[in-house]
């Protein structure tokens, strides 16, 4: 059973056909790369899958469950985590608290416990802190737990976004240009991190990236998007030699 099944989704905004007939079949432990020129609709695909937009046609199935028309936060609770192209961390909260926010919907106390010093609240808060520190450790940020995200480097902020998304217990992880703005050393660290997560946790990873070295190296499958349409699907090797892909990126060869 495919963990993530996207079946022929379409999405238009007024006259703009952002996605035309996109499909994916992803199993446990797979990393799928989505590449293509800017404006090809890649982030829109993520937005439809994660519930920010609803597909005009087609279906999104997460672990067999139809989440096409589900509300965003409920889809996340079904097991989907994501990071954003333009980092969206919570200002006014520490690094640890940023990650705790993703744990909070799973936390087992209510409004009364929020207002009063009840034992259940303290127990759950402790449990949450342990879990979140675990994820921070996984991305190598545990020393920064009490720092403010605004004070951290770009590379660290990207890792924090990943730690936060991991706390959602995702079965499917959407990474939107996680290497954007990183220097080569940081890209190397990120590559290693993504591969480690894929090995240790075994979820599906969808990766939008412009850094072709990164995405070609770690993905099992690549989807090439252009103007909302999928122009090629296959292994990195297959896609690399596909003439349509080459044309989309480099232009037609003049004879």
């Amino acid at each position: 059973m495919a963990l993530l099944k996207v079946e022929h989704i379409y999405k238009s905004f007024g006259g703009v056909k952002a996605i035309q007939d996109f499909s994916i079949d992803a199993n446990r432990g797979e990393i799928h790369g989505i590449i293509g020129p800017n404006g090809a609709g890649k982030t829109t695909i993520f937005n439809v899958i994660s519930g920010i937009y609803t597909a005009d046609e087609g279906a999104v199935l997460l672990d067999g469950k139809d989440v096409t028309h589900m509300e965003q936060h409920l889809i996340t609770r079904e097991g989907m985590g994501r990071t954003f192209q333009n980092i969206r961390l919570f200002k006014g909260l520490s690094v640890l608290d940023n990650v705790m926010c993703a744990f909070d919907p799973q936390s087992r106390y209510g409004v009364v416990g929020s207002l009063l010093p009840l034992p259940k609240r303290f127990a759950e808060e402790k449990r949450g802190r342990e879990i979140c520190m675990g994820y921070l450790k996984m991305v190598g940020l545990e020393a920064y737990a009490q720092e403010r995200p605004e004070n951290m480097s770009y590379g660290h902020r990207r890792k924090l976004e990943i730690a936060r998304a991991l706390t959602c217990n995702p079965k499917v992880m959407l990474l939107d240009e996680p290497a954007a703005g990183l220097n080569p050393v940081e890209v190397g660290e990120l590559t290693e991190l993504i591969q480690r997560l894929s090995r240790e946790i075994g979820f599906v990873i969808l990766l939008i990236e412009h850094r072709l070295e990164l995405v070609m190296n770690i993905s099992q499958f690549i989807h090439v998007q252009n103007f909302g349409k999928t122009i090629a699907v296959g292994t990195p090797a297959e896609v690399r030699s596909n003439p349509e892909v080459i044309e989309a990126y480099l232009g037609k060869e003049e004879c």
Partner: protein, 290 residues
Amino acid sequence: MQILQYIINGIALGSVYALISTGFSVIFNVLKFSNFSHGALMTLSAFVGYFIAASNGWGLVPTIIVAVITGCLVALFGELLAFRRILIRNTSPIYFFVSSITLGTLFEGIVVLKVGANFYNYPRFFGKPLHLGSLIISQSDIIIFCISAFALIVLAFVIQKTKLGRALRSVSFDRDTASLMGIDVTRTIQFAFIISGALAGLAGVFLGINYTLYPTLGSLVVKGFIASVIGGLGSLPGAIIGAMLLGIMETALISTIGSGYAPVFTFLIMLVFLLVRPRGIAGSNIQEKA
């Protein structure tokens, strides 16, 4: 016949509301926040118009001119005092809320300083009402409507056909891109405040004519807010349509259930609109992208 009378009175009322709501909307469109000092600006301009022109017997047109000029100048001053640094420093737009309310308090404080809690009245600018069959149309209503309509037409012309108007529309759409295209954003925003201030001054005089001049006259700006919401925040034509509708609805409501409960029903109407058609009659649906 009665309905026609409602409509006529409602349109007269609506035209003043339209001045308020467009003055408010211009700033909302360009800066994306509610300028809560707009009401106090109306009051201040109306009073200055009174003390300089009307109490010296200068007549309607000079009073309007004084009020409009006051509105423009004070609005410019207010922009510098309360909003400029927020814009330049790119501080969170949340602060516009606090600074606009405080600015309003400042304007009102200045009025109270001069006037205390006293009421003032504009001198009689108009003659007797006209009778058309069984319809009664007051001269002030006609003239107010004509001047308002004229002002709004000029506004529409400026926004659609002039360079500054285009700049305004660009800055409303995307401030950063507009500045990258060479538009002087600060100047454009100042221009927006001049327009808003002029409309406030005009609206203030008309409110002063329709009611009386008292320091908290500006609280009638709430009608402008509600009209904008009904018409659609973000749309100037919407602000006008919403104002007209509000004017007619209010006239009908006041005649039937009395002016005391009218605010309750206005609120409920606004709620209904927000539930059924949140973007208002003419507003645009802006979705946030990831």
